[in-house]
Symmetry: C3
Subunit: 247 residues, 3 copies
């Protein structure tokens, strides 16, 4: 891609980070894993790109191509906290499948636009896992426990429209013009004064930040207990094997 004067591009190994007019665009494009799965290397790169965006002059972060995401991650606690503690708006553009942590993280983003062809699944229990990414806290508050449990325990697969009507997604956009539509809206957001964006996000988020951090900790402790159990090792192996099948 072309690097214009007002843009700069940093090439990591597994993500592409483009600093554009007023915002930071983080695109998954994994080399070290197949299908954009969130392995520890990818997670480290995203974290580093977010840390840069937190302190530079970009007004928001646009996460893109978080499409077919799958995760065998390690340092969940720090990775998920880097989303919880981010003070600028995070916009997610979900183009394809959002699986596991890739779907669980969406409620930690501020606006979520989904391609109509996108789909969402968090089949933690069927892989012998407990929820992560604060989904055990955010999902019930967004859609009620009846729906949250169906996703997290029963692994129900949601279409984009269903995710929209359950509140996981802000709006479903037409596939043909998805990228243009997202860019148009991102530009409108970038046109907003930084102080207004920061104050708005603080109003929306500050009251739940510490509850989210605690939920994140509880989830990590649960995962350790499950992984430490006799069935745990089997579950992890099964999880890793099926991971590639799912994508």
């Amino acid at each position: 891609f072309s690097v214009r004067q007002t843009e700069s591009a940093y090439r990591y190994r597994d993500i592409v980070v483009k600093k554009q007019d007023g915002f930071t665009h983080i695109l998954l494009s994994t080399k070290s894993s197949e299908n954009n799965t969130l392995n520890p290397e990818v997670m480290k790169e995203i974290q580093s790109a977010m840390a840069t965006a937190a302190s530079d002059d970009s007004k928001l972060v646009l996460l893109g191509a978080v499409g077919s995401v799958f995760c065998c991650g390690l340092d969940f606690l720090t990775f998920v906290n880097s989303f919880i503690q981010f003070r600028k708006p995070i916009v997610a553009a979900v183009n394809g499948a959002a699986l596991g942590l890739g779907a669980a993280l969406l409620p930690l983003c501020d606006v979520v636009w989904a391609n109509e062809k996108a789909w969402f699944q968090t089949p933690y229990a069927s892989y012998g896992q407990t929820p992560d990414g604060c989904s055990s806290f955010t999902f019930p508050r967004i859609m009620g426990l009846a729906s949250a449990n169906e996703l997290l325990l029963s692994g129900r697969k949601l279409t984009a429209q269903e995710a929209g009507s359950k509140g996981l997604v802000s709006q479903v956009l037409w596939p043909g013009t998805f990228t243009q539509e997202v860019m148009l809206r991102v530009k409108e957001l970038v046109a907003v004064d930084s102080l207004v964006l920061r104050e708005s996000k603080a109003l929306m988020r500050n009251t739940t930040r510490s509850a989210l951090e605690q939920a994140n900790e509880r989830e990590c402790e649960s995962l350790k207990r499950v992984w430490g159990s006799s069935q745990g090792t089997d579950a992890i192996l099964q999880y890793l094997q099926r991971g590639t099948e799912l994508c």
Copy 2:
């Protein structure tokens, strides 16, 4: 019904309890009341069956035929607490009408599958009652106050589809294959490791358990104040009379 080797059946008077492969199935089939209304005897039996399921090796409880439920109950506090404090998943399969406490209790269950012919109504105010079953706490959090008040104050009747889109129900299933579909999904849940089920439910529920217990207490105190008022006795009589009409 046949009792196979891995199953055992305890016949109460008003409910049927079947211990099946990995789960406890509680079915309403009232003799002491018409239309599966939740009178004190029925409530006591459900409570006792739940207490058994809490300590035996069943991984979850499936509540069935909680269809046309109506309630002139007494010891709400203890009964509702037995749902709040239950540590294993509770699956509700709503086949027909869910009325009053029968609908109010659904947010205390973990997954709720509804027959497309099912319907839901909680006309507390029109019977001179205040909400019970923690519905004054759970309904606003699931569907917002605007919808919750319409159900609890104005007594709006919801179809299964509406209950699904408002988040009271996890998913609406086709009438023709309702029981088979529910059983299939229950079996998938039973295949999940107990530790994973317990940890998942703890993650989803532990942060709200004490708030729910307090809501339950406040609701019971409200009912006492209403019942103690001059209009109260009339309201109870009216409530009991119309109860049978509604079913």
Copy 3:
């Protein structure tokens, strides 16, 4: 309009207040501003009418024609608190456009019926403003952060049906019979015993009242910071100019 024996009418300048059988009807009909915008005079009149209704024998308040509402208001804190602290049910009948504070206040009402032609928009960020009316607190809890941010940051315009499915509105009613339908339902609510209405509202609201008051304070402080900034004065001017265009 005719004043019957059981009714009385107080004519303010910008609102019409009708005391009807058991309830107080507040209708916007602004003279000092165009398009029913909520300027300080209008807000003072509403507040005074609510204070009267809080202490007289009316069982609830019906807000009507809060249609095309726009706001350049001043004493938000007190005005919004008068909604937060109101102990009787507030019913809102949204006939046309609900903009800015007019839409933000809806979650502080108890039942919200909307004409199918009504629409809703809270484009705070695009006018350089931060959310008010507790919308930064109530919107995420009703519809999830993904949708709330789209409304408050991106200024998405919602149809009545969309507002209904997101939980901002209790039910969408047919335009042809809107007023009759609302009146029918209001009369059913007025038939409910006062004690039951008061206890029900207390059960639904008491647990969040102080959190709402704090949210209101935080929002007012944010607005002061934004208005005090260099871009702030421009934003207010822009806001006032576009205000009339929008309606």
